[in-house]
């Protein structure tokens, strides 16, 4: 709905399937609805109509808490603005999703994950003491620590310079391959999109390709 009560359509007729292990890039100009689509796919938002099946489960048949638990069990996230919790140290940020699942070896697995992204030495630093690239690597460690079946990435290099961005992407794709994760990536970077197995182009809320 827009401000005057008229229906405001952001996305329509977006119907597609992504197989396990596949990687999909969603491309589109600013305002084309790609982040909204990602939010719906991840169950972060609710559509006015339509459905999303994740591993066979209808996301919108669940309530908000049900979706949250499903995300915790199956999905990992990487955001443009990193979205680390400022109060927690790097290691604690990585431990968080494991602890939400009630894992008993959270600490060991988080240390291992930080080691994989090359940040063992920074484990006890607060996010504000880390560079942008380091913060995004912590976010990657956090995303992969639960060995998610699917990873949602929203413009993961948007706030990084080209060189750092390239490192982060390389790391992300490598972890993705190693764990056999399904990847859904939102970007406006054609070159990055081409590194994914499939591309989906959005224009004014419609899937055009």
């Amino acid at each position: 709905m827009d401000g005057k009560g008229q229906p405001l359509t952001i996305l329509q007729q977006a119907s597609f399937a992504v197989e396990a292990g596949e990687s999909l890039a969603i491309l589109g100009a600013s305002g084309s609805g790609k982040s909204t689509l990602l939010g719906l796919l991840a169950g972060l938002d609710v559509p006015s109509s339509g459905s999303v099946l994740l591993d066979g489960k209808d996301l919108f048949a669940l309530d908000e808490d049900g979706r949250a638990r499903l995300r915790g069990a199956m999905a990992g996230f990487v955001f443009q603005s990193f979205q680390l919790l400022p109060a927690l140290k790097a290691l604690e940020n990585v431990m968080l999703p494991l602890e939400l699942q009630g894992s008993s070896d959270a600490r060991e697995r988080a240390e291992e994950s930080l080691h994989q992204v090359g940040l063992s030495a920074r484990a006890h630093h607060l996010p504000k003491h880390l560079s942008g690239g380091e913060q995004q690597r912590v976010a990657l460690a956090r995303a992969f620590v639960t060995r998610p079946k699917i990873l949602f990435a929203d413009e993961p290099t948007g706030n990084l310079d080209a060189a750092t961005g390239a490192q982060v992407i390389a790391l992300m794709l490598e972890l993705n391959r190693a764990q056999g994760t399904t990847l859904i990536l939102v970007t406006h970077d054609e070159a990055l999109a081409r590194r994914c197995g499939r591309q989906l182009r959005l224009e004014a809320g419609r899937v055009v390709q």
Binding site: T36, D45, E64, D65, A68, A87, L88, P97, L100, Q101
Partner: protein
């Protein structure tokens, strides 16, 4: 552009954001607490002023503990002034089986010269005369306690009187403070027949004078140099000095409590204004971009603050007015009297204080908005213009200092109070900060939610510490007035072993000694030791004459101006303790000779107060004749032992020929109460004072003081909650963001609720424990240095403080954050 209209429009839109509500709430509480105390004190002060002449029943009064020479009366009448005499003393009033200690006022025709007495002898009216012969008027308390009605008979001394009327309103009851004993008014001519005019009876003689103002003044000047020691002139200005000083002390104490609320309100306002500024940076940048000048931007927000200030101050004054009315209702003795309505002055003073707080704590942050760079429209990371934190808090402290000085009325008191309070708050704050960081440091040992919560608290260390201090302060005040007060009372009473005397008998005449002892023997009550008492005034220390004017200390002045109770004894009372010097040697066969005959033992406290040292020679005037003796020992006396104690004890040879009366104390168990009444019936001149009843009375007064202070401290607690609210608002954006991330990572609403509740639980627990610690510490200080009793804090104060704090803060926090657990995450993350 109509700036005012735009300003009001923005204010309306912003109302929901919360900062305005915090500012308003904080300011209303601060003004409300200041106005409560100010208006309350003003009413009592006005009553004192307006009723000053009726308070003493005359234009001028001469007061003495001895009969006044007739010359005074003649001098007044020679000037064409009207005069009347009154004599007041304590005595037992008996009705059937019961007796009650009362204040008897025997007055001459024409009393009072100023003011009026209202009585009810079937119908309520202003008394036209004094009680006729054989009748008395008594106040309502006496009727209630002795369960009697107008028309019944009472016994006073050896005489019986008919109660002709109930006193509805006495002359000096206008203010609502009165002595603990109910009052009886009798005709002066009846006094002699009661047999109560005896040696040792403490009678206050008064000569009341009224008439033309110039003549009264001339009489005052003429009498002043002629007054003998112990005689005092009281004009309307000196009326009820004890009420004035009590009022001043109460106002200072309550004022301090009110200002504590103001300090916390200031902190809440500072937090709220900071967030207000942060949220309005974009608006300001855009306005600047569109061509608004710095002054216009400033005025835009200044109008809002001024409007808010005006509304808050008005509401605060109304709140203060309502609360002081409740206070007057709390205080039993004020309920019945019609206190005059307060003047508008205290309200204006509180309003000005409110605006000063607004200026001190909200103005500087506001001033920053003026300096927002228009470039921020393009580059948001430019952030807020940096205010000098030292300057901001400095201005706040400066305003507070001004308020303390203004409200305390004295530089020394104001600075001492503010300094002490700020130092205490800083210590409290530092401790809270250390505890919070300690928790965060070892947080890896805790469960995820707890760890996360502790880290959040530590990350906002300064604000969290501020909240802990604010809430702790409010909690401490409440604990002090409830639990610690109870503990102190219990410690005080627990100090008295069972069988501690609970009755004093005063005024036993020398020829009654044997009869009184026989009475006790007949009743099978252990015979108490009767101690002689001689009344005399101290006139010289080591040959240097002294009078009240020799001392600046008002208590010392009072001690010197009135008569001392002197006693003599061969042995030191076993409940006294020798501090220095030595007790006189007694050898009954040889006796003492020369200097050994004239020895005195003085209580160490009074010696210090009056500057008496071991070896000094004291000169006393007893009924016109003088004697001198050397101080050979100093004693320590347990005043609350409920035994008969004397400041000064002499060798028996020195005093035994002077006129004396005897007194003693003894214990009556609850089932022996009637023995006291019987004693008074057999010896009507005796005063039997029930100390148990007096303790009850003291406790009643303490209850009322505690209730009064409790109301004021409630403002402190509420202001503490306002700080919590402000801090919740200040961290709200962050919490919303955090909640969104957590939900994305799979946290359900239960987890989020638990996370928030753990944070508030930790905050509340810390506040509560600090409150308990502070209350116990203050209780100990009170016990050790003021009441001088051992203090055993009850253990329950810790769980009550800790759990209570936890409960209150968790509830408040849950109300403030419950929305966060159900927000959909995407909208927030995309910002």
């Amino acid at each position: 552009m109509n700036l005012l209209r735009l300003s009001l429009n923005l204010l309306r839109r912003d109302w929901r954001a919360g900062e305005w509500r915090v500012l308003l709430l904080a300011l209303v509480l601060a003004v409300g607490s200041l106005a409560t105390v100010g208006l309350f004190a003003d009413r009592v002060r006005l009553a004192l002023q307006q009723e000053a002449t009726s308070l003493i029943g005359a234009d001028l009064r001469i007061v003495s503990a001895r009969p006044l020479p007739p010359a005074y009366r003649e001098m007044a009448e020679a000037r064409g002034l009207r005069t009347v005499e009154s004599r007041a003393f304590l005595s037992m009033v008996a009705h059937r089986e019961e007796t009650l200690l009362s204040e008897i006022q025997a007055v001459g025709a024409g009393y009072p010269l100023r003011g009026r007495i209202e009585i009810d002898d079937g119908s309520a009216h202003v008394a036209q005369d004094i009680p006729s012969h054989g009748t008395v008027w008594v106040d309502g308390r006496l009727l209630r306690r002795l369960d009697m009605r107008v028309g019944d008979e009472v016994g006073i001394g050896t005489q019986r009187f008919t109660v002709a009327a109930r006193i509805v309103r006495d002359i000096d009851r206008a203010v609502g403070f009165y002595s603990f004993a109910p009052r009886v008014l009798m005709n002066g001519d009846d006094l002699a027949a009661t047999g109560l005019l005896q040696e040792g009876s403490r009678i206050t003689y008064r000569l009341l004078v009224a008439g033309e103002a110039r003549q009264v003044e001339a009489l005052h000047d003429e009498l002043e140099p002629k007054l003998a020691n112990g005689e005092k002139l009281e004009g309307v200005r000196d009326a009820r000095p004890e009420i004035r000083s009590a009022l001043e002390r109460a106002e200072n104490f309550l004022g301090l409590a009110a200002l504590t609320a103001a300090i916390l309100a200031g902190a809440a306002m500072a937090l709220a204004s900071r967030r207000f500024v942060l949220r309005h940076l974009d608006t300001c940048a855009m306005l600047r971009c569109l061509g608004a000048e710095q002054g216009q931007v400033l005025r835009l927000f200044l109008y809002q603050f001024l409007l808010l200030g005006a509304v808050a101050v008005l509401l605060g004054c109304l709140l203060g007015y309502a609360t002081q009315a409740v206070l007057v209702g709390f205080i039993e003795s004020m309920r019945d009297t019609e206190l005059p309505q307060p003047s508008v002055l205290p309200a204006i003073k509180s309003a000005a204080s409110g605006f000063a707080l607004l200026f001190g704590f909200a103005f500087l942050p506001l001033l920053q908005l003026r300096k927002v760079s228009p470039l921020r429209v393009l580059r948001r990371e430019l952030g807020a213009p940096q205010a000098n934190a030292l300057l901001a808090w400095g201005l706040g402290v400066l305003v507070l200092a001004g308020l303390f000085l203004w409200h305390s009325g004295s530089v020394k008191l104001g600075f001492t109070m503010l300094g002490g309070l700020l130092a205490g708050l800083l210590c409290f704050g530092l401790l809270a900060w250390l505890l919070l960081h300690g928790l965060a440091r070892y947080s890896l040992r805790f469960h995820a939610q707890a760890r996360h919560a502790f880290n959040n608290l530590a990350r906002h260390g300064r604000d969290s510490a501020l909240q802990v201090v604010a809430l702790g302060l409010g909690g401490m005040a409440l604990l002090l007035l409830t639990l610690v007060r109870g503990d102190l009372l219990q410690s005080w009473q627990g100090k008295l072993p069972p069988g501690t005397p609970n009755r004093f008998i005063v005024n036993i005449q020398p020829d009654q000694q044997q009869a009184v002892q026989d009475f006790f023997a007949r009743q099978s009550v252990p015979q108490p030791q009767l101690l002689p008492m001689v009344r005399g005034r101290l006139v010289a220390i080591s040959a240097a004459p002294i009078s009240g004017d020799s001392y600046a200390d008002p208590r010392a002045r009072e001690l010197v101006e009135r008569e001392f109770n002197l006693s003599y004894a061969e042995q030191m009372p076993e409940w006294n303790e020798l501090v220095s010097g030595s007790w006189w040697v007694s050898s009954p066969d040889k006796g003492r000779a020369g200097e050994e005959v004239a020895q005195l033992s003085v209580e160490e406290g009074i010696a210090e107060r009056l500057g008496i040292r071991l070896g000094d020679e004291l000169t006393y005037d007893v009924a016109g004749s003088r004697f001198s003796a050397r101080v050979t020992s100093l004693r320590k006396v347990q005043w609350d032992s409920m035994r008969v104690n004397f400041f000064v004890i002499a060798t028996p040879e020195l005093l035994k020929d002077y006129p004396a009366s005897y007194l003693t104390s003894f214990y009556l168990s609850p089932d022996q109460v009637k023995i006291g009444d019987q004693l008074v019936r057999e010896f009507p001149n005796l005063l039997v004072i029930d100390t148990g009843a007096m303790i009850d009375q003291v406790r009643g007064i303490m209850e009322q003081i505690a209730q009064t202070a409790g109301v004021i401290f409630l403002f402190t607690l509420l202001s503490g909650l306002a700080v919590l609210y402000a801090a919740l608002l200040a961290t709200q954006d962050e919490r919303i963001n955090e909640a969104a991330i957590l939900r994305t990572l799979g946290a359900d609403s239960r987890y989020l609720r638990r996370l928030h509740l753990s944070e508030f639980a930790a905050l509340g627990l810390l506040s509560g424990l600090l409150a308990s610690a502070g209350a116990v510490l203050l209780g100990w200080v009170l016990a050790r240095f003021v009441l001088e009793i051992p203090y055993q804090a009850s253990v329950v104060i810790w769980p009550i403080g800790g759990l209570g704090g936890m409960g209150v803060v968790m509830l408040a926090g849950w109300l403030g954050t419950r929305r966060l657990a159900v927000l959909p995450p995407l909208a927030i993350l995309r910002e």
